[in-house]
């Protein structure tokens, strides 16, 4: 069986699943749904595995399947590309998805949507998501990638708003979609510019054109390439929740937990990273743009981590953690270490999915409670969950031997040593690592250790999740534990297997590597590398210990408040408020009268400040439309009507006035004579 020729089936099988679910799922029993939907993803996974294995056997490690033309003039075909990068991605996507589908059978089995039968709908959406995600990673051109790109956004919207009876869910979904669209606008423009530059949007052709030597490295100053790269990056910031477009992701936690795990942690949000990696030929040519990527990544990482320090909602901690980790990935990509970015993506997928699903299990056990302040002491009551979460937390904290350690440490090292990197960024990364360790373990301690703080009724209900949920957790835990060993730092010696990941991806990042090579190699000493590694391990352990000290040893009233910073962090650096102040209150004080017209209730409905500026502008536009544009039309109509009366009233009924006008007419003709000559 030639799996390589069948790669187009990988996305389409879940699509069929989605179709069956959404069209006929309503009448199906749950068992059938649980069979078809995960089954479809399972088939995808098998196909992916087969293709992946066959790809390994190929000389060139690249295989394209073109089904037919789509938008011809953009050279955007129904084309699918399997190369090492997409190979990794499909494995991650189908694998994690499959596990999460299984998990969801248990998780959603207890939950009903707002109307009976939400179960099938959930799986339909989830399958649809997998379809789009696979389209995204398997596309052989930017436009088809964009299909997936938008499609996953849609599914994200649908799934965030799955509990659509909740207003907050609807709001969050809309916010996600619109913020993503802002990014997409940049992405679209980036694509156009790329097309303009290279005459194609096919990955291979673009890459070939960029590396053909016709395009010089834009080392000094901004050029068209940098603009292109940055526009694409704007798209990535939207999808991957980077500053300033990260605001949607924390709110996205309104969705069911498996969704958070799958879409908002493991797969969709990494699309931006994937896309930047896919465009490495471009980014490599634009060091300044790459620096922007790195800086934004680093900033997002520390910023989100700092917020994560104080959140009390278990899923929100993980959400900010995700934002932070994505920042890491961009940091890596920005310094030119694309494979590391993908590597972190890979490991992160395991442990973040694990953590989210674990938290889901916790929430499940807690009858839906998400506030960590009402948890505690769950260690013994839900042991399996606790154990897998424990592994995940260690992994993300960067404890050596676990997946997170290898990838994160490689990022920090590359940041330090890459010609594009800088020591300042390294420091930021390190600080983030410390915070990560702290907040993750804060979460662990608040949840699983100490006294139970929940009410009696909830306490009574606490139970371990069924096997259908715990088994995927365990598989993921295993992945989190050992997944990093295929990317062991070279300082520990070079061995085919231990550097498998880097070598595997080499052909994809060859264009970037070529350019990077021109910067000149410099080899910092192994000693430095080992020293830094030790430093980061210490820092991670320090973070864990600090968390233990504060949240386990100290009583609640003894805990440091964090001073003035605490409320700042708790309120997410007041970004949402800042938007509010900037765009709403400022204006309301300035133009109070205009704002007075605003309906308070609709202000509440505003999702954030940007939307509000827009709405303000649109209100003005509407006012303008009603009173000025249409007003002019009506005004002229009014004038015609108004002029009609005097003309009618000329007819006074009095015949001599008519005669007078007659004579006046004659006079006017005479007048014309004088005027005319």
């Amino acid at each position: 069986m030639n799996f390589l020729e069948l790669i187009w089936l990988i996305p389409f099988v879940p699509l069929i699943g989605a179709g069956i679910m959404l069209l006929f799922g309503r009448g199906m029993p749950k068992q059938l749904v649980s069979l078809i939907s995960p089954g479809a993803v399972g088939i995808s996974f098998v196909l992916s595995l087969g293709a992946f294995v066959q790809l390994m056997g190929l000389e060139e490690r690249r295989h394209e399947v073109v089904l037919g033309p789509w938008i011809e003039f953009l050279k955007a075909d129904w084309g699918f590309l399997l190369d090492p990068l997409s190979g990794v991605m499909i494995m991650v996507v189908t694998g994690i998805s499959f596990l999460i589908h299984i998990y969801s059978i248990g998780y959603m089995g207890h939950e009903h949507g707002p109307r009976h039968g939400g179960f099938y709908r959930f799986f339909g959406y989830l399958n649809l998501f997998v379809f789009f995600m696979l389209m995204l990673v398997l596309a052989n051109n930017y436009v088809l990638l964009f299909v997936g790109w938008e499609g996953v956004g849609l599914c994200s919207y649908l799934l965030i708003g799955f509990y659509f009876h909740k207003k907050s869910a609807g709001d969050a979904g809309k916010k996600a979609f619109i913020v993503n669209r802002i990014g997409d606008a940049g992405f679209i423009l980036g694509m156009f510019l790329l097309f303009k530059l290279t005459g194609s949007l096919n990955f291979g052709e673009v890459s070939a054109a960029l590396t053909s030597g016709n395009f010089p490295v834009e080392a000094a100053g901004w050029g068209i390439l940098s603009t292109t790269a940055l526009l694409l990056f704007v798209g990535a910031t939207g999808k991957s929740a980077q500053i300033p477009l990260y605001v949607w992701l924390p709110d996205a936690m309104e969705g069911p937990t498996p969704v958070s795990a799958l879409i908002h942690a493991a797969t969709m949000v990494t699309a931006g990273v994937y896309m930047v990696a896919r465009s490495n030929a471009l980014f490599a040519l634009t060091p300044d743009a790459s620096t922007v990527v790195a800086v934004v990544g680093a900033a997002t990482a520390i910023f989100a981590a700092s917020i994560g320090l104080v959140q009390n909602d278990i899923k929100r901690v993980l959400a900010y953690s995700t934002v932070s980790q994505l920042g890491y990935m961009f940091l890596a990509a920005g310094v030119g270490a694309y494979w590391v970015a993908i590597f972190h993506l890979f490991t992160h997928a395991f442990f973040k999915a694990l953590l989210f699903l674990g938290s889901g299990s916790v929430i499940h056990a807690m009858s839906g409670e998400q506030d960590m302040r009402r948890m505690g002491g769950l260690k013994d009551k839900i042991p399996i969950t606790f154990r897998v979460m424990f592994i995940g937390s260690l992994a993300i904290a960067g404890i050596p031997g676990l997946a997170g350690f290898f990838s994160k440490d490689e990022i920090l090292w590359q940041t330090w040593s890459s010609p594009l990197g800088s020591h300042l960024l390294y420091v930021v990364g390190l600080a983030t690592a410390a915070m990560t360790a702290f907040y993750m373990w804060r979460l662990m301690f608040m949840t699983f250790y100490g006294e139970g703080r929940m009410d009696e009724k909830t306490k009574h209900h606490i139970h371990e999740s069924p096997a259908v949920m715990t088994v995927p957790l365990m598989i993921l835990a295993a992945g989190s534990a050992v997944g990093g060993w295929i990317g062991v730092p070279k300082v520990f010696g070079e061995n085919g297997f231990f550097q498998a990941f880097e070598h595997w991806l080499e052909p994809v990042f060859e264009p970037a590597a070529k350019v990077m090579a021109t910067h000149g190699e410099h080899h910092p000493s192994h000693a430095v590398e080992l020293g830094l590694m030790a430093l980061s391990v210490c820092i991670a352990i320090g973070g864990i210990l600090l968390a233990r000290h504060i949240y386990l040893a100290l009583k609640e009233d003894q805990r440091p408040t964090g001073g003035a910073l605490y409320p700042v962090l708790l309120n997410k650096w007041y970004v949402d408020e800042l938007y509010d102040i900037l765009f709403i209150n400022g204006l309301s004080k300035g133009g109070g009268t205009v704002l007075a017209a605003f309906d308070r209730s609709t202000i509440d409905g505003a999702v954030n400040g940007t939307a509000w500026t827009t709405r303000m502008v649109s209100k003005i536009s509407m006012w303008y439309d009603t009173w000025i544009v249409d007003g002019l039309v009506n005004l002229s109509a009014f004038f015609v009507r108004a002029a009609s009366y005097p003309m009618r009233f000329l007819h006074t009924g009095w015949v001599q006035s008519y005669a007078l006008i007659f004579v006046a007419g004659v006079l006017a003709i005479f007048g014309f004579y004088w005027w005319g000559r």
Partner: protein, 488 residues
Amino acid sequence: MSSFYTATDHFVLLPALLLALFACATLLFDFWVFPESQRRKHLVWFVLMGEVFASVAYFRQHLFLSQHGGELQAFGGSLVVDQFALYFHWIFVASTVIAVIMSYKYFEVRDEHHGEYYGLILLAQCGMYFLASGNELVVLFVGLETMALTFYVLVGLLKRDQRSNEAALKYFLLGALSSGLLVYGFSLLYGMSGSTKLSEIGAAVANRDSGDTVLFLAVATILSGLLFKIAAAPFHMWAPDTYEGAPTVVTAYLAVASKAASLALLLRILLGPLASSRDVWMPILAGAALLSMTIGNIAAVTQTNTKRLLAYSSINHAGYILLGVVAGNQTGIQGVLIYTMVYVVMTLGAFLVLTVLCRDTTTGEDINDLHGLMRRSPAHAIWMLIFLLSLAGIPPTAGFIGKYFIFLSLIETGHYWLAAAAAVYVAVAIYYYFRIVKSMFVDKEETEMPALSLSLGTRVALAATGAMTLGIGIYPEPFVKFAQQTLR
């Protein structure tokens, strides 16, 4: 001047003779020949017979002209029959026939009987005959007065109706003033040339330079008289009052026939003797046309009396017609001719519907009387819609063809701004025409009104005008050809 009354003279004058004869006969028969009970019906048939005879005479002239070409002069050049005159004669015949058919039912409803009415209508047509065929100032003047005097009487025909009296008086007073000025202008023309024949006047006028003040005075006075007759602003003031007060059938006849005849006169004079002083009258006409369209359209916007509304509409159409004269080239004149024919047909049609509406309970004059017409009598509503669309100039109705030629000629001669103004006013016009449409199709009548029943004659007339309106619009070729041939 060798012979007193030649065969040619007879041939040319015959239609007028026939008309006069039938007119006199009608007047006489009204007294004693026809039995009282069926008098009206017989009179109508008799008048129609007269029209048939006249038509035969016209047709013979037509045949003669198409065989021999050129024109026929009679009475030493006092009368002339050419295609131009014949064109208008046909219009007069058609409008008279329809007016007579309309009248039958109308006067029955208004409970007025005047046998004189039919005679007078024929006499008016006689006057028109001389307006279109006259080639000499005295003939034209006396013809004009014959027609005008007849109309004064016709307007005042509903003697018990104060409004009718008043309309007649107003029309009379203003008409007298205007014809006074007109004939004053004629006297100046005579003074300049020493002749009353248009051709000789033309020669004399051509010898004068365009800045000549006497010529200007003559043109100004003549134009004010003529513009009055075709109800162009600022000499239009009589029209709404007269249209409103007159019996609806007379209004219709006045709106079409009188206007067409006066237009024939206007064209005869402006394109004949005064052709060389085009620079003098063209701007005046342009101004009058613009003013007419403005006043006609804008004043109509808030008008609620349908007859007044149609009066404003006719002022507006006078403006469009004048634009064709302003353009003045072949296309323009052709446009004027086509427009006139179209105007006659569609205005008669519209008035026909209004006449039908006139019942014991309602005068049919207020726009509200049309409420729910679509439900009461769909056929009428649809015919009216077609007439209104045509009045507004929407294709594929006849009105569009008329406007098209006007636009064509204006652009051809470079009068872009006039064309644009004329175009914009089409939209304004739609506004008030569609108030009628709205009234017919959308509004519901407040009180139950009886369904309309129709006499055969009205049906035929309605069908004829409607068919013409649509026919000219959809297949204008023969009509355009006809107009072109007229000018050759």
